[in-house]
């Protein structure tokens, strides 16, 4: 199978220092994401408290649609990041794009409602808007850190995509987790202030994460 040729000292040296390794699997990566999401939910409960009335039927459908879409976007993006850590020619990382397109509908719907006069809650007059955006960002950090650590262990070769999807995953899952504690259910509040942090994290991830995971 192997041609006769001069031995390569590097191969002998690498074989000499070989130790067993635990392969990085999709299951392992998704388990790490699940733990990070669970920790985030616990932090939301500890520092902010879940909105219990939402589970008793007080929340509007838009509340569940928003948080549900954010959760789907976060899950799709986190799955993509876990997969990116194991490179492969032929990999496609397109699922988050479609989930992102669905989430973009939320601010568009909020703006349309404002312009068409179906809503009178201006996002600029929303006294809790900025606070919600900041808290969403804060609660995305555990997930962002987990994904960056996973990528650093891995061998990502699509660095820009890895960064963008890390930001999307952390931003969306953080916003969804925090969203369960927010009792404001208007489409403008949810569609603008709970979604903008996702875009902010995606941009931050796109430019910051490649520097952290380059190898």
């Amino acid at each position: 199978m192997t041609m006769n040729r001069a031995p390569n000292p590097l191969i002998d040296a690498l074989a000499e220092e070989l130790v067993p390794v635990k392969p990085m699997t999709m299951r392992g990566g998704m388990a790490a994401v699940a733990v990070a999401v669970a920790v985030t939910l616990v932090l939301v409960e500890l520092f902010h408290g879940m909105w219990q009335d939402a589970f008793a039927g007080a929340a509007t459908p838009f509340f569940w649609v928003t948080n549900g879409l954010l959760a789907v976007l976060g899950l799709a993006s986190a799955t993509s990041v876990v997969r990116i850590a194991g490179p492969r020619v032929g990999n496609r990382h397109e699922a988050p794009q479609w989930a992102l397109a669905a989430v973009v509908v939320l601010p568009l719907a909020a703006i349309a409602a404002l312009l068409l006069g179906h809503s009178d809650e201006s996002p600029l007059a929303d006294r809790y808007g900025l606070e919600c955006a900041q808290l969403s960002l804060a609660f995305s950090l555990v997930i962002a850190g987990t994904l960056v650590l996973w990528l650093r262990r891995g061998a990502p070769v699509s660095l820009a995509v890895a960064g963008f999807h890390t930001g999307l995953a952390a931003g969306a899952l953080g916003a969804a987790a925090y969203g369960l504690s927010c009792p404001l259910t208007g489409e403008t509040h949810l569609g603008i202030w709970h979604v903008v942090p996702v875009f902010a994290m995606a941009l931050a991830g796109r430019f910051a994460v490649p520097h952290l995971v380059r190898w």
Partner: protein
């Protein structure tokens, strides 16, 4: 003859478990495969260094291969990543060495082979970016020479190389 995909995958699984004999065979086979893979993509004088780099990367990142997936697409992705990185470094070195035109000339045949081998990834790039990368990175022309040859300004050559390499980096997993 280089080992087939199932054999390489089996050797890699054994290597992940710590089997040094299997690992030695795997690395030797990977070396042969990489030499063939890079043959028309880098200058012969730089081949050994690049192959060694990929073998080191294989070693350090061996845990990232998932035994439920094929081995060669994993190795090829790492090889492309290191290749693009290699092109970037060559560019930087040439930038620092502008004015030094004493580099040994490669045969035209080697240059042509190198150019052809890159076409698979280059089909996704605009012609001007391909032209700039081919002349400077594959044929070894200086920025000024490439500018004169193409009619692009020196700044345009630099920008086209920079943008082309960025696109190549984004195509590592996509271009099949």
């Amino acid at each position: 003859m280089i080992a087939d995909e199932p054999t390489l995958a089996r050797l890699m699984a054994q290597s992940q478990a710590g089997d040094r004999q299997a690992y030695t065979v795997l690395l030797t086979e990977a070396q042969l495969w990489l030499e063939r893979y890079f043959r028309r993509r880098v200058a012969p004088a730089q081949m050994d260094d690049l192959v060694q780099e990929v073998l080191m990367a294989l070693h350090h990142k061996r845990a990232t291969w998932d035994s439920s997936r094929a081995f060669l697409p994993w190795l090829a992705a790492i090889a492309r990543y290191r290749w693009v990185d290699h092109l970037r470094r060559v560019y930087r070195n040439e930038e620092e060495a502008l004015g030094d035109h004493d580099a040994a000339e490669e045969s035209e045949e080697e240059a042509v082979l190198a150019r052809m081998s890159l076409e698979r990834l280059f089909v996704h790039l605009p012609d001007k970016q391909v032209e700039a990368i081919e002349l400077v990175k594959i044929e070894g022309l200086s920025i000024a020479e490439a500018s004169h040859r193409t009619g692009q300004s020196e700044s345009a050559v630099k920008v086209n190389i920079h943008r082309g390499l960025r696109k190549l980096a984004a195509l590592i997993e996509k271009a099949e």
